[in-house]
């Protein structure tokens, strides 16, 4: 077979992934042996809808010329066999125009894509794993842009139209502390009115209370669905049961990162791979070690000790943060309010190093990737603890204190935390990467150039985003700050990466870690934010003299008041009915939960069944392989025997040939 025809030597029976051995009628068979298969293929394609047909043809591994011929033949057979009635023709036309519209839209959206060239350069030099951090950053940026647009258009602009004068003076400290001049601007909750803003010309009115709560509520609901959808998509693509993970050798078949285009990076990756391979070939696996009971107890004891130490440190941090924050309530000096955020940021920066030191003690007991996960766990726990104690302080001490405008105070706290955290992030990048590189190349040559620590940076992003989400209620323009800070962080990290870091040495299981990070963004982070919001809306009294909810006993009263008003209009009784019977009733959520649990259980059983099926098929393939080798050996033995084989042996040999051919075509 010449190189011109690509498919000659590739007897592919199925283009489905290895699990589906049954040919269903709707999937075309691409076995290229001769015309009868091609006819069957064309017949299969003709029976599909046009969109499916296009997708199926795209998926066939043939050259462009062959695909074109296939497409033309299919079109001919379609037009000759089907009669389109006017209904389907209408549908077809609408579908076609919708497709064209979508293509046009995607063309324009493509032009607006942010940072495409930069991401390509980063991927080209550092590979997919480091690229995933920057893609994650870009993804979080879209959440903030969306939130800012929504908040600005629905809450801030109406407020700006109807706002009063600001007679406080501005000095530079406000940028850091968020208090002072900013107290009486649209930045904070306290500035928003609870009136219904009416324009003088026409009678349209805009209820600020409802606008505030509905805008923020709907934003969070949309975020919830986007996060659940992304998490599910990521899980489906990337979640592999750890026990079925390939051993390290077979991984080599899919390890090369074709994104890397920089020559030096390619050479570096090649030398890293070579080192890894040599290491793994000579390594004694840890599981083979048989530990005496004494050693086992010692191992468990060390492990427990380290965990107690980590928990103790986290608890100490919480106590410290709480102490400083209680102090905050009584402060008069504006600059002194910066102490709490600085303390929090320092803890966030330094404690992970302590945990890494503990990791050194455990280094000899655990394989490297488990250790990495363990460290990640402890850092996540620390951050949850810090945010938890801060939320406790805000909800229990600030909200119930008799301060005049407690929501604005919380907003200022969050502003300061985010700004100082941003400054510390820049400093950490400077010291952690730039200075470390200087040390590694000039003073202590053994250390070498640092690697980009993906997990730590992603956790920092998740931490800041959590604070920003909590802050949206108290300071509706908080996303604007996040946008600016993310932009600057992107460029700083990129420059630092290019100048100071080397590509990662170990292969990183990038997509599974990304799944984990999206899950972390959803589970402690976003759900925590939702719980805080829930407590504020249902259980805390808003301040009496400022903000859109002044005078109400709880924020949810705004909505119930509105429903009450709607009750008097007959055309909107269905809204009232939905509110009282669906959203407000416990039974509905109970039934919904039971249904979701049943569906989850059914899917789980289906997955279990499929897993058993996979195992059985795997065994079947092994057995077929053994049969094939057995028959081949028998044939060889028969053929090398000197005497003419008697008639029955000839029959056996011909049967063996038939069986061999069948099994060969089966497993190819």
């Amino acid at each position: 077979g010449g190189r011109g025809q690509r498919n000659q030597d590739y007897p592919m029976a199925s283009m489905q992934p290895g699990f589906r051995y049954s040919h269903s009628a709707s999937r075309p068979n691409t076995n290229p042996y001769g015309n009868p298969h091609k006819e069957k293929l064309i017949k299969n394609l003709a029976s599909m809808s046009s969109r499916e047909r296009v997708k199926a043809i795209q998926k066939t591994p043939k050259t462009m010329k062959e695909k074109r011929v296939l497409m033309e033949k299919t079109k001919k057979s379609v037009s000759s066999s089907t009669q389109i009635n006017c209904c389907t023709q209408c549908l077809y036309k609408t579908a076609l125009s919708y497709q064209r519209f979508k293509n046009g839209m995607s063309e324009y959206l493509h032009l607006l894509q942010l940072w495409q060239k930069t991401l390509k350069v980063i991927g080209g030099k550092f590979g997919t794993s480091v690229l995933s951090y920057f893609v994650f950053l870009k993804w979080l940026l879209t959440f903030n842009i969306f939130s800012f647009l929504v908040n600005f258009s629905f809450i801030t602009i109406p407020q700006l139209i109807a706002s009063g004068p600001n007679n406080l003076s501005f000095n530079g400290l406000e940028l850091l502390t968020g208090a002072g001049y900013f107290k009486k601007t649209v930045l904070y909750y306290g500035f928003y009115t609870n009136f219904t803003i009416t324009k003088t010309e026409n009678n349209s009115s805009y209820d600020m209370q409802l606008a505030y709560i509905f805008t923020i509520g709907i934003y969070f609901i949309i975020c919830f669905f986007i996060l659940v959808y992304s998490m599910a998509k990521s899980f489906r693509k990337n979640f592999i049961n750890p026990q079925t993970y390939s051993g390290s050798a077979a991984k080599l078949l899919c390890i090369w990162d074709f994104n890397i285009t920089n020559e030096k990076a390619v050479k570096l990756k090649q030398s890293n791979l070579s080192t890894q391979i040599k290491e793994s070939l000579s390594e004694v696996t840890l599981e083979v070690l048989n530990l005496s009971p004494k050693q086992r107890i010692a191992r468990i004891a060390v492990h427990l000790l380290v965990w107690m130490a980590s928990l103790g440190i986290a608890a100490a941090c919480c106590a410290g943060v709480y102490f400083f924050s209680r102090n905050n309530l009584q402060l008069e000096n504006e600059a002194a309010t910066l102490v709490l955020p600085i303390v929090v940021s320092l803890l966030n920066l330094l404690i992970p190093f302590c945990f890494a030191l503990f990791g050194l003690i455990e280094k000899f007991q655990y394989p490297r990737h488990q250790l990495y996960l363990l460290l990640l766990c402890r850092n996540v726990f620390l951050k949850i603890a810090i945010i938890g104690i801060l939320c406790y302080y805000w909800l229990n001490d600030v909200a119930t204190s008799e301060k005049e405008c407690w929501e604005s105070l919380v907003g200022q706290d969050i502003y300061r935390l985010i700004v100082i955290d941003f400054i510390f992030c820049l400093l950490a990048s400077f010291f952690g990467e730039f200075v470390r590189r200087i040390i590694g190349t000039k003073c202590c040559k053994k250390l070498g150039v640092p690697e980009f620590d993906i997990a730590r940076n992603v956790l920092d992003l998740i931490y800041t985003q959590t604070l920003a989400w909590i802050g949206i209620f108290f300071a509706p323009l908080m996303p604007a700050m996040q946008i600016i800070s993310f932009f600057i962080i992107f460029y700083v990290k990129k420059v630092s990466l290019m100048r100071n870091c080397q590509p990662p040495r170990k292969v990183w299981r990038a997509s599974q870690m990304m799944t984990l990070f999206i899950f972390l963004l959803f589970f402690p982070s976003f759900t925590g934010v939702l719980s805080v919001m829930a407590v504020i809306i249902w259980r805390r009294t808003p301040s009496k003299q400022c903000g859109p909810f002044q005078g109400l006993t709880s924020i949810i009263d705004a909505v119930s008041g509105w429903i009450h008003i709607l009750d008097s209009y007959s055309s909107s009784k269905w809204v009232v009915w939905i509110y009282y019977n669906l959203i407000g009733s416990v039974h509905f959520f109970f039934i919904l939960t039971v249904i979701v649990l049943i569906i989850t259980y059914l899917y789980w059983q289906i997955i279990e069944g499929r897993r058993i099926m996979v195992r059985l098929l795997h065994e079947q393939i092994i057995n077929e392989g053994k049969d094939k080798m057995f028959l081949l050996n028998k044939l060889r033995a028969l053929q090398t025997s000197k005497l003419d084989p008697p008639k029955e042996q000839q029959e056996v040999s011909s049967k063996a040939w038939v069986f061999l051919c069948c099994s060969h075509s089966l497993d190819k």
Partner: protein
């Protein structure tokens, strides 16, 4: 990564001619949509100007891609319209000025294809050209449609099955339909590079290939066929994102 939300353009970027590992300056602004670089000769410096939308965007003396052909390519490959137009532009830069008129009939020799920065450093570049080329002489020269085929398989939206199919073809150095010991040896040599320190010794290579075959050869015939290869690939979720080349 999941795409969601709204993209916003802020500022403009001046793209330099692509060179490996170079930045467009640390202050490169984020939005590169409205400017483009037109290159007169392959490998030369480009002239930056405002991008024109639509099929009249090809500019200069390069021939334009007819609309129906564009639609057909969109149906037959996984590429979007912008990717096809970009591929057309980059392919025509590989040809000399006179040849650009008949871009669809011309074949570009392998040596020129390998000057593309996306392929230049790749250890599998020879195999890629050979697999996707439909030239009868077997010299690895590619036509524009071969080039599009290649980009389609390496694009973002290609399915995992087709990527694994072509990965199998690329790693099958002797084109016999299976990955036997010799193929695996050549594969490992590509992965570790040709340097003296990075090459594996014979015993290490034997041990490694033994391990690979143990883990992936299910029917124990000493070779890895396409289904076994796809089975190994299906357990590695990183494969789809690393088997990607984007212009």
């Amino acid at each position: 990564m999941p795409h969601s939300g709204i993209w916003v353009c802020v500022g403009a970027q001046l793209p330099a001619c692509p060179a490996p590992g170079s930045l467009s300056g640390p202050w490169a602004l984020p939005w590169s949509g409205f400017l483009e670089t037109v290159v007169d000769a392959p490998g030369g410096r480009g002239v930056t100007r405002l991008r024109q939308l639509g099929p009249a965007a090809m500019g200069g003396s390069a021939s334009q891609l007819p609309r129906d052909l564009l639609g057909e390519y969109q149906e037959l490959t996984f590429l979007t319209k912008q990717e096809i137009l970009l591929a057309h532009k980059r392919f025509s830069e590989l040809l000399s000025k006179e040849e650009r008129e008949s871009i669809l009939q011309k074949r570009v020799p392998k040596s020129k294809i390998l000057t593309l920065p996306e392929l230049r450093a790749n250890p599998f570049r020879d195999r890629i050209c050979r697999v996707f080329s439909t030239s009868e002489d077997g010299d690895g020269s590619m036509s524009f449609e071969d080039f599009l085929d290649m980009l389609s398989v390496f694009s973002d939206s290609a399915t995992s099955e087709i990527k694994s199919h072509y990965a199998f073809r690329i790693f099958d150095f002797d084109d016999d339909g299976t990955l036997d010991r010799k193929d695996l040896e050549k594969l490992v040599n590509c992965l570790t590079g040709e340097g003296d320190e990075t090459r594996l010794s014979e015993s290490e290579m034997d041990q490694l290939i033994q391990n690979i075959l143990e883990e992936s050869d299910i029917d124990k015939d000493g070779t890895i066929n396409l289904s076994e290869f796809q089975h190994v690939i299906s357990r590695s979720p990183d494969f789809a994102s690393s088997f990607k080349i984007v212009l």
